[in-house]
């Protein structure tokens, strides 16, 4: 049996790395006595698969994990049992049974929706942000292999972005960004570039990033992995 689980990573646990998160979920599976299947071979591992790592420091209510079970378990019961034994901040939100033949989520997800909160907004933030997006190209430098820097145009990876809540103390941007294995934009890179563009390059990162969900392209447009799992 294959189950796709949607979960959240919030609060203090935002600082754990992807590897640590995986280990935490694996241990919770054991505590909750979930009949998860194990790989064969010398060093058997639980058969789980995860979506691309969420950068350390971000929170999310749209993370996904694939689990193969040895025997049937009601997906809701799985969530319930897991939530009893998970540390604060990691919560399973929904789970659905999916067809075992379906391709891996990892390869299907291409975009994610983010809410980015700036606590100390840049002056004339809305205008500046619009100007920022109006550029044909937004070039950032990335450290590549062997210490070489690469130049990347991130503009095509910003599919949608706009200010949804504008206040003096915190301003919230909603953005849909490429988050796939082929094309990937880290929201921090976009924000750092924007802050530099707005002429305030030396302020410390006073914004937080929250991932709302991930998206898969389908015949019916962009849908979430759970919708996809249900046959979208």
């Amino acid at each position: 049996m294959r189950i796709v689980v949607k979960y959240a990573k919030e609060g203090r646990v935002k600082y754990i790395s992807h590897l640590e998160l995986m280990r935490t979920l694996h241990r919770a599976l054991r505590r909750a006595d979930i009949p998860v299947a194990f790989s064969q071979g010398f060093n058997p591992q639980p058969r789980t698969a995860f979506t691309l790592p969420l950068p350390v420091g971000m929170t999310s209510e749209g993370e996904y994990m694939d689990i193969i079970l040895e025997s049937y378990l009601n997906p809701e019961l799985l969530c319930q049992r897991m939530n009893e034994v998970l540390p604060n901040g990691i919560t399973l939100l929904r789970a659905v049974e999916v067809d075992e033949s379906l391709s891996s989520l990892m390869s299907l997800i291409e975009r994610a929706v983010y809410l980015i909160t700036i606590y100390d907004p840049v002056k004339d933030m809305d205008k500046k942000f619009n100007d920022f997006l109006k550029q044909n190209e937004i070039i950032i430098r990335k450290d590549g292999k062997k210490g070489k820097q690469r130049l990347i145009n991130i503009r095509p990876m910003i599919h949608k972005a706009g200010i949804v809540n504008f206040q003096k103390t915190d301003t919230v941007i909603e953005a849909v960004l490429s988050t796939g294995s082929r094309e990937y934009l880290n929201p921090n890179d976009m924000m750092d570039e924007f802050i530099a563009y707005a002429g305030e390059g030396n302020i410390e990162r006073s914004y937080t990033v929250h991932r709302v969900d991930m998206l898969i392209s389908s015949n019916n447009g962009w849908i979430t992995p759970l919708e996809f799992g249900r046959g979208g």
């Binding site: 646990v13 600082y15 754990i16 640590e20 241990r27 599976l29 034994v85 604060n88 990162r205």
Partner: protein, 612 residues
């Protein structure tokens, strides 16, 4: 406000998880509902501290109490410390992120000497006056325990209280006493007096030390009435009935021992003469098999760990080991819980034993002959022969191992070049054994690592009187060995002799070293056990400006009459026994395992355990 800043700076440093808390099984309490707040402190980074069993036990014991909330604090790594100082964030506890300066106790566990500067640094970061005499009623009591606490004299000026021995029972007595004192509202001194009345509790300020002209100690005496002249360590008599947590915090980080740890017994009867643990943790007390199985079940259930390890000073000495392993395998193997056995002794490998282990996991094997010749192994009472080693190695190779590590000490008393040759000979024989078993075909897969550390004479051992080899001599020996070990498939690594020298100074140090610690800390020394932080020139400077010769402590041979800085501490094993063992060592005479015959070490005065 501070907490928002903490949250922000955590995001700006390496390994933020070290400061995050919020692990599964972390205890959450409302601090306003407890009478006593205790910060248990480990003077090293999180992942080292969280591997330590003692801290976990004490954490849960104290939190069992309704009147107490025990939280954890570790030494912030250099980058975090810098951020904290820049933002005026004082040392805070992981659980509530409250400043520890506002707690009732700050309790350090002292596992190794080279963490002492971290103790001072943590006090400073907390904003607690460094010296015990400078603290007042608004400050926490600074308390210490752990193996180095048996001679915590170099830290005497910084500590208010020291607990000698096993903490499980003492800690409750201490907290009860504190509760009474807090209700009465008496002054700070009054609590110290009450505490000094508890067996095993040492208040350094209540003792005066005077010195002879030659720099040795004249006497150590209580400076007030009602304080015991000798402080005897505490032990737990019955391990089955003492508290052992059935749950443990599960760190997110990959800590050093990231698994369920089951303590199968305490103490050791082997009597290796260099080994402090073997002397100070006596007597041997075992946990019953049924209790161990019960704990294993609960702990696996409550932590979700995928591995269990058995811990003790020499696990193969557990009287029912084979049966225990069998039961573990039966119960846990199908649940994919694996099994680790540290501290195996080379003379104890039986073939079935290794086969059992290999079923579950295959890792590199470490053998610790400690010395290169039989003569020197007799001196240190390591009852292991070349033949034992070769037998075990043969079995390991036959079972398919290609990777072995051989561990030795250099600078042991009476060592000569012949003993160093012996190390190279053993490495050669191990290699030949592999080639023989594998018919020379797979020579390229073989990897033998020879690793040496420099001997550090420790208090409460038969070698507490001996002089450590000088840094220069140790270096010469390392160079000699490097030449002698130019052998195919063999690599040689060794420990820094400067670090071993400082360990030797502080292990057998007295109160006069407090000012050196302070000076070294002022000059920026911290995390001295970490190669990237260790600054030996700063230490040399600290000794110079304090006008203290470190060689007096490390490289001087003591005589039988000398008053040692720890003579007012009774660890059970007597000085007379240690001296007898020292003399036997110099004669190369063995003292067999005392499970066979009691040698009258003195520990039986404390009761409990397997002693006759």
């Amino acid at each position: 406000m501070n907490k928002a800043v903490i949250d922000r700076i955590i995001g700006q440093v390496s390994k933020p998880v070290r400061y995050m808390g919020n692990e599964y099984n972390m205890i959450v309490k409302d601090p306003s509902e407890v009478l006593i707040r205790f910060a248990i402190a480990f003077p090293d980074v999180y992942e080292v501290g969280m591997s330590h069993l003692g801290i976990k036990i004490l954490y849960h014991i104290m939190n069992e109490r309704e009147d107490t909330y025990c939280e954890r604090v570790f030494a912030p790594w250099v980058d975090m410390e810098q951020k904290m100082r820049e933002n005026n964030i004082p040392l805070f506890a992981l659980e509530t992120r409250d400043p520890v300066a506002g707690f009732d106790f700050l309790g350090f566990t002292l596992q190794y000497e080279m963490s002492y500067t971290n103790v001072i640094n943590m006090l400073d970061l907390a904003g607690i006056p460094l010296m015990s005499r400078e603290r007042d009623k608004s400050h926490p009591f600074v308390i210490a325990g752990g193996p180095c606490a048996y001679n915590a004299e170099p830290l005497a000026d910084f500590l208010d209280l020291v607990v000698m021995g096993e903490g499980e029972e003492v800690v409750n007595q201490l907290l009860d006493e504190y509760r009474e004192w807090k209700k009465n509202g008496a002054d700070r001194q009054d609590f110290l007096i009450r505490a000094a009345g508890i067996d095993g509790v040492y208040v350094p300020a209540f003792y005066d030390v005077d010195y002879n002209e030659d720099g040795t100690i004249g006497s150590i005496k209580p400076n007030r009435e009602g304080v015991p002249p000798v402080i005897r360590k505490r032990i737990v008599r019955d391990l089955d009935n003492v508290y052992y947590p059935e749950t443990m915090i599960v760190p997110y980080m990959n800590v050093v021992h990231d698994r369920v740890t089951l303590e199968v017994f305490r103490g050791c009867t082997r009597g290796c003469r260099f080994c402090q643990a073997g002397m100070i943790y006596r007597p041997v007390r075992e946990r019953s098999m049924s209790r161990l199985m019960e704990l294993a079940r609960e702990l696996i259930k409550n932590t979700g760990y995928e591995e269990i390890s058995l811990s003790s000073l020499s696990t193969s000495d557990y009287s029912q080991l084979e049966e225990l392993i069998k039961q573990f395998m039966d119960e846990f193997q199908s649940r994919r819980v694996s099994f680790a056995l540290p501290s195996l002794r080379i003379d104890s490998f039986s073939r079935e034993f290794i086969e059992e282990m290999i079923k579950v996991r295959k890792a590199g094997l470490t053998f610790a002959p400690e010395a290169g010749t039989q003569r020197l192994r007799d001196v240190i009472n390591k009852g292991v022969t070349d033949e034992d080693l070769m037998n075990s190695v043969t079995q390991a190779f036959e079972l398919g191992w290609d990777n072995v590590k051989l561990y030795f000490m250099i600078g042991l008393p009476t060592e000569t070049e012949e003993d160093l040759d012996g190390i190279a000979d053993l490495a050669r024989r191990v290699r030949a054994c592999y080639l023989d078993i594998n018919r020379g075909k797979q020579a390229h897969r073989l990897k033998i690592t020879v690793s040496t550390s420099s001997f550090v004479p420790k208090p409460f051992t038969p070698f507490q009187w001996v002089a450590q080899d000088s840094i220069d001599l140790l270096r010469q020996k390392q160079e000699l060995l490097r030449d002698k070990l130019r052998i195919k498939s063999v690599t040689y690594d060794w420990h820094d002799s400067e670090l071993s020298f400082l360990e030797a100074v502080f292990a057998r140090g007295d109160r006069r070293l407090g000012k050196v610690l302070l000076k070294a800390w002022e000059m920026g020394c911290k995390f001295d056990g970490w190669a990237e932080c260790f600054n030996y020139p700063a230490w040399q400077e600290a000794f110079r400006t304090s006008e203290i010769e470190p060689e007096f402590y490390a490289n001087r041979l003591r005589d039988k009459q000398e008053v040692l800085p720890w003579d007012h501490i009774d660890v059970g094993v007597t000085k007379a026994f240690l001296w007898r063992e020292y003399e036997k060592a110099l004669r190369g005479e063995l003292t067999p395992d005392c499970r066979e015959i009691c040698h009258g070490c003195g520990i039986s005065r404390l009761g409990g355990g397997l002693c006759p």
